[in-house]
């Protein structure tokens, strides 16, 4: 066993993490050599010196009493003790922004009542079909998607027309329908 391995064993023995058999083996090894024994003494003394010298302090009484008063708060009422004014201000601003956004999102726009009602019709139509007709054929599915896409285009301000030709798109329902919104600028007339 070299010096580094011996040092490891001594360190583990000091912390009580050496198995009894290994500990007995270490003791035997230490007893056989003064040099080995000196290493253990050196480590013991170093640790003892360090323990005396290293700062060992306590928190301020105010800190401890703040923690204890926080611990006495009923569960769920814990709060941050040192909320900085800037953080508090930012939280208020975020809450206000959320409220304003919610207002504009939820209150119907009076200038466009038709679009809101169309949206309600569309949602009702799709929901009803999804619930009632789970076993639709491929053809019916395509029809439904065409109708949905048409409604979406009307809501976006497009005029729609029915095209029944070989050039009509073979619809891959869900993704094609979703992509239509982004394709409007590139394709002023969209086949549904």
């Amino acid at each position: 066993m070299n010096r580094s391995e011996l040092e490891r064993k001594i360190l583990l023995a000091q912390s009580g993490e050496l198995a009894p058999a290994e500990k007995a083996e270490l003791e035997l090894l230490l007893a056989q050599s003064d040099e080995n024994m000196a290493l253990r003494e050196e480590l013991d003394n170093l640790f003892l010196q360090a323990q005396n010298a290293l700062v060992s302090a306590e928190p301020s009484p105010e800190t401890v009493s703040r923690i204890l008063s926080e611990a006495r708060e009923p569960a769920g009422r814990n709060r941050i003790l040192f909320t900085r004014p800037a953080v508090r201000l930012a939280a208020c601003a975020a809450a206000l922004a959320l409220a304003v956004t919610g207002w504009f999102a939820l209150v119907p726009d009076e200038e466009q009542p038709d679009q809101v009602s169309q949206l309600q019709v569309l949602v009702a139509m799709v929901s009803e079909e999804d619930v009632q007709d789970e076993a639709v054929t491929g053809e019916m599915e395509e029809e439904r998607v065409r109708a949905l896409a048409r409604q979406l285009l009307i809501m976006e301000g497009f005029e729609t027309e029915e095209i029944f030709s070989e050039e009509a798109l073979l619809l891959d329902p869900a993704p094609t329908t979703l992509r239509l919104r982004n394709m409007t600028e590139l394709h002023p007339r969209i086949c549904v």
Partner: protein, 209 residues
């Protein structure tokens, strides 16, 4: 008979605030000493200490049987690392460098902490000063093992590493201390009985695992 940490925390979860007071009292010295030795000043140590306990209060339900002190140190360590990152955002201490060892292992911890000042004799002061200049992970192993009496297995868990790495860090720290202290280190092989006695009293006050 003294209640275990787990029992006290269970009592606290059931609404007994005094149980937490007992835990704070039990660990305030070793925990605060660890934090103080890992932070630049008393004010910051106070803040971290408070934050640790606030997290314990909020997350008491998450604690399972195991070393409670280890849990406290883990929380404190994470808070200290977060603070360090906020101050030096370009430095990522835990990332493995291209040389194999984490960057943190090769950085000196900085100038000696003023708080590390005199409490014992001259050699003791020199040891304390040198400990403070060790790379931060080595310093942490040394402090946890020597000051807080945390076993290597628990240190490895706190540092999210293997016990072999924790031991290696301790050995690197010892090697650097020997080299830095040079001739003063000879004293350690012939210590006076007075030093031993005084130090043993400190050991008795240390945290039992």
């Amino acid at each position: 008979m003294e209640s275990t940490d787990y029992e006290l925390l269970s009592c606290y979860r059931e609404g007994q605030a005094d149980a937490l007071a007992q835990l704070v009292d039990r660990y305030r010295r070793p925990l605060f000493s660890y934090i103080l030795n890992m932070t630049p000043n008393m004010a910051e140590a106070d803040e971290v200490f408070q934050e640790v306990w606030l997290r314990v209060i909020k997350k008491a339900h998450r604690y399972r049987k195991g070393s409670f002190f280890g849990w406290l140190v883990t929380i404190a360590r994470n808070l200290i690392i977060d603070r360090g990152r906020r101050k030096r955002p370009s430095l990522v201490l835990d990332v493995e460098s291209d040389k194999g060892s984490p960057l943190v292992d090769r950085l000196p911890a900085g100038t000696p902490n003023p708080a590390m000042s005199a409490q014992a004799n001259e050699l003791g002061n020199r040891i304390a000063e040198e400990v403070n200049t060790l790379p931060i992970e080595q310093k942490e192993v040394f402090l946890l093992r020597v000051q807080a009496n945390v076993p290597f297995k628990e240190i490895a868990r706190i540092q999210k590493t293997s016990i072999n790495t924790a031991l290696a860090r301790m050995q690197y720290a010892l090697h650097k201390l020997r080299r830095a202290l040079k001739e003063d280190y000879v004293e350690l092989t012939n210590p006076s009985e007075n030093t031993k006695t005084g130090a043993r009293e400190t050991v008795a006050e240390g945290v039992a695992s």
